[in-house]
């Protein structure tokens, strides 16, 4: 899922300073699962902002909504009839959802209520970790299901660098060396020969280095 963290209330209060009437919009997708932008978070954020603003003598009117997804046009359409009755939308979806809403509602300022994080997993309640950087050319079948792009701090493709000591990455004591993980797992799977099958070089044009990406599935159009 796409993960994120709430922006500090002070920062949000500053963002909404000019407005008296806003929408706080959540999303039932990833951000609901990682407890940063779902229906409950909309309610808590809206209450918090109303309390802070009214206590400061400038009450704020808020419409609370939570869309099925903010990254699909059909779920944004229902907002169209009323969105311009409000001065801004504070969205607590991921950056993709927020931008899509901004594109659809050209005359309404969109404000981000969260800091979007990464594509990751829930390791335990309240703790998420990055697993994929969407490089567009997956090699997990060769690396024991462990991503060298993500788990190696340098995204190396041919084994660990000199900074790997005792299975720990030089970046931080809390970061295991991605390549140590890969080799250990390949050994456990008896697939060490896969290490030699990695391409001599990785083409990064399908990753972010090729600029903003687009997927066109002719079979679906």
């Amino acid at each position: 899922m796409i993960t994120g963290t709430p922006k500090p209330i002070e920062e949000i209060l500053e963002m909404i300073e000019p407005y008296e009437k806003i929408i706080v919009a959540g999303c039932f997708g990833c951000v609901t699962v990682c407890r940063v932008g779902g229906e409950k978070e909309v309610q808590v954020l809206a209450s918090t902002l109303r309390l802070a603003r009214e206590a400061g003598g400038r009450p704020l009117e808020i419409r609370e909504v939570c869309l099925e997804r903010q990254c699909d046009p059909e779920y944004l359409d229902p907002m169209r009839p009323y969105v311009e009755d409000y001065q801004a939308v504070l969205s607590i979806a991921c950056g993709a959802g927020i931008q899509f809403m901004a594109e659809k509602f050209a005359r309404t300022p969109l404000l981000p209520g969260i800091n979007t994080g990464f594509l990751g997993v829930t390791e335990r309640q309240g703790e998420w970790a990055e697993r994929c950087q969407g490089c567009g050319d997956c090699v997990l079948h060769l690396t024991g299901g462990i991503c060298p792009v993500t788990r190696c701090a340098k995204s190396l493709f041919h084994g660990p660098c000199g900074g790997s000591v005792g299975g720990i990455c030089e970046v931080s004591r809390d970061v295991p060396c991605g390549w140590q993980l890969i080799i250990d797992r390949l050994k456990a799977l008896d697939q060490l020969e896969n290490y030699g099958k990695l391409k001599p070089y990785k083409g990064w044009s399908s990753a972010r280095d090729g600029g903003p990406r687009r997927i066109i599935r002719e079979d679906m159009i």
Binding site: I9, Q43, V44, S47, T48, E54, A55, G57
Partner: protein, 120 residues
């Protein structure tokens, strides 16, 4: 100071939003009273409630209301005397803190509009 009692089947039902809503509705303080820890009929409702009360205290602190305006107590259903004691203690605490900032702002506004009426 008046108190109103809201009955719920389990403190586990209490969301952060419900507690914040009470402040929007004009409460100067909110106490959450759950069963003794380890005695929850729904296993861990009161443990969840404790975490939520903690988060709301954090929010109240951030927006300048003060974290002391929300507090969780645990007691068994048979402890009427403890209930009275906890309630008295919390009411004293809230009275010391005074009206919540939102009630102060509302009071000021009411005063201003009364003054306006008086002036017309």
């Amino acid at each position: 100071m008046s108190i109103s009692i809201v009955l719920l089947p389990c403190t586990g039902r209490i969301e952060e939003a419900v507690l914040l809503r009470a402040f929007e509705k004009g409460a100067d303080g909110v106490m959450v009273i759950g069963c003794l820890e380890g005695d929850c009929h729904y296993v861990n409702g009161n443990i969840r409630a404790r975490a939520r009360v903690g988060r709301v205290a954090g929010i109240l602190e951030t927006i300048g209301f003060g974290p002391e305006r929300v507090r969780m107590y645990n007691l068994s259903a048979g402890e009427g005397a403890a209930f009275a004691r906890f309630t008295g203690e919390f009411v004293d605490q809230v009275q010391t803190l005074g009206p919540s900032p939102i009630n102060l702002a509302r009071g000021q506004q009411n005063q201003e509009s009364t003054e306006e009426v008086a002036a017309t």
